[in-house]
Amino acid sequence: MQRQVKAATLAALMVTVALAGCTQSPADDQPDASTGSEVLTMCVVHNFADSVSVTAMVKGMNAEASHYDAEITYFDPANDPQKQASMIADCASRQPDVLVVNAVDPEAVIPDMKRASEAGIKILTINADVAEDGQQYRMSFIGSDSFTQGYAVGSMIAEGLNNEGNLAIVGGNPGQTDSVNRTEGVKAALADNNSKIKIVAEQSANWSQDKALTVTTDLLTRFPDIDAVFGQDDPMAMGALLAVKNSGKTGIKVYGVNGNKEACASIKDGELAGTALQMSELLGVSAVRAAFDLKVGRLVPDKILAPTAAVTMDNITKWEPQCW
């Protein structure tokens, strides 16, 4: 008991000494953004450094940052909502000009965003927005509209199948905004084209390429007369494409969304029928521009939406440089 008391006392003394050197307020020691320094400080908490879309966004941000006097710090929570909430709090304590968040989960980040916004920090969301009750804390959402993406694919399908045939949809996480919107977009496009295309199956593959392969194989067995498959993102579309190839059936068209390099290469080779290109790099660029606007006191729109391009073999040479 005595030894432990001694150890604890010594420990307490050491911690006190260390804390005595710590500042009271984080603003004291940092190049102060609030006194109007020229440098634009941005703190970016994306969702996963390994994700291809994040790499493209970061590339866009860094490219645009070189045109301004900007310092951008990146944080990677590896798809963990608690880590992301904690990183937002970290960022807030450093008092950047602008905080940019790519929400891992639309609900979990709201309390820390609220605290950051109440501390006077301007917040932008990019790529994945927060849920409705959190949107009041962010100045703008920079992203792509998933409904428009679905619509672009729907138009490609209508044209590709000549307005007749059976369509199967392989979806992302059930209930997730992007999944729901992309399906709605496809249905709207088919309706607008007065097409007789029937959606015979809708099954989730949770944004996973492997799962899409299994799901599509099963769908092809269950519904032998499928004419087209829509995988709601390119990795899933590639999985579906592999299933179609393995089944030995010819003439089934597969579509995706994203504009990933593998998908674009596949379109060029005549395998994948089409994809809706998301301009992730452009999102990064727009984010930095919006951040600068916020810093100098301009208003920014509630949503800054990047356009979507419907890419097929006909226009692949034009869009290939944008694939990521």
Binding site: M1, A7, A18, A78, D80, P81, Q82, A92, E107, N173
Partner: protein
């Protein structure tokens, strides 16, 4: 001086924590030691601490609990999802659920004699599946105002969950050291047969340890749900191994019979500070995983070397009698009774 050094030598977790703290304080300066950052770190520590201490308790009693992360997630989901019955009911249900999972684990291990690792991996899958079905694979959010205070609020500069967790730590420390059930857990973990021969109700002790662990994991779940004001499917994923690492840095052993709540708390503090420091230095997630692993290995090896040396010294200095073996030690921490 020598006794101070020897006292410190036994406090591996404390030393690791202090060493890391001072290192980051020197290299990162006010980025690390600012009130905002420390408050944030303390909050994360406080939310995960109950779960880690629960894991330490199970390790002490000779078991292991891989289902803690899943229990935490389901507890978080229940504490949010049942809020239309009131926050008290939803939190109560969450903790009751944790106790239920703990009881299931305990019975599988104690009665059905299934190896703890396997049994708890099984319950982990079942509970995680339940959580995903309950939340429909999405996140659910909070409706009761003020619920966010317990995980997200602060009293002055101190985060509320820190006050709660430190109190919990003191209670558990007191239970483990001064109550019969605590000593019995060390005995069962150290050597089940000897404990049985000494009259300890081994199965009851094992079940109790798992039930406490399940309840503590639920407490962590409720605190996290309070901080995020929502429950998401990602909660608690990979937390199982992290909690074992923290408990082991805190003195626990996979073989049982060692460790404590205070040690586990500081072990967790060490890991949380390490993560925070690495985040501030901009080190990517994959290097962070490797660093956590290296730290764990270093601590375990040093600990093993030190306890081997101590064992050899004590064998030489004091003759051991049968009575010595069967009397529960007053200072648990250097291993259970030697096999006869």
């Amino acid at each position: 001086m020598k006794s101070i050094l020897s006292a410190l030598g036994h406090q591996t977790a404390l030393l690791t924590f202090l060493g890391l703290f001072l290192t980051f304080a020197i290299f990162l300066g006010s980025d690390f030691t600012s009130l905002g950052n420390l408050s944030n770190v303390t909050r994360t520590l406080a939310i995960t601490a109950p779960l880690v201490m629960g894991q330490a308790i199970v390790l002490i009693s000779g078991g292991i609990d891989i289902s803690v992360g899943a229990t935490m997630a389901m507890a978080a989901a229940l504490s949010i999802g049942l809020q239309h019955y009131g926050a008290v009911v939803s939190v109560g249900a969450a903790i009751a659920f944790g106790a239920l999972v703990g009881a299931a684990n305990g019975l599988l291990v104690a009665k059905a004699k299934i190896v703890a690792f396997i049994a708890t991996v099984g319950t982990m899958s079942i509970v995680r599946g339940m959580m995903l079905v309950y939340t429909d694979e999405g996140s659910i959010s909070n409706t009761v105002p003020g619920f966010g205070f317990w995980g997200g609020g602060s009293v002055g500069p101190i985060p509320v969950p820190f006050i709660l967790s430190v109190s919990l730590m003191l209670v558990l420390w007191w239970l483990l050291r001064y109550f019969k059930i605590g000593r019995e857990m060390y005995a069962v973990g150290g050597n089940k047969e000897t404990a049985y021969l000494a009259g300890v109700a081994v199965e009851r002790v094992q079940v109790t340890a798992f039930v406490w662990c399940g309840m503590l994991a639920s407490v962590s779940g409720v605190l996290l749900a309070s901080r995020l004001e929502s429950a998401t499917p990602q909660i608690g994923v990979n937390l199982e191994l992290f909690s074992i690492a923290a408990a082991v840095i805190g003195g626990a052993s996979i073989l049982g019979g060692r460790g404590g709540a205070v040690g586990a708390f500081f072990g967790l503090a060490a890991l949380v500070i390490l993560t925070n420091g690495m985040n501030l230095l901009g080190i990517t997630t994959y290097y962070q995983l490797a660093t956590n692993a290296v730290l764990l290995i270093v601590v375990v090896v040093l600990d093993a070397l030190r306890s081997n040396r101590a064992k050899r010294q004590s064998l030489r200095l004091s003759p051991r009698t049968v009575e010595d073996e069967l009397t529960p030690k007053r200072e648990p921490g250097l291993g259970g009774p030697h096999p006869l």
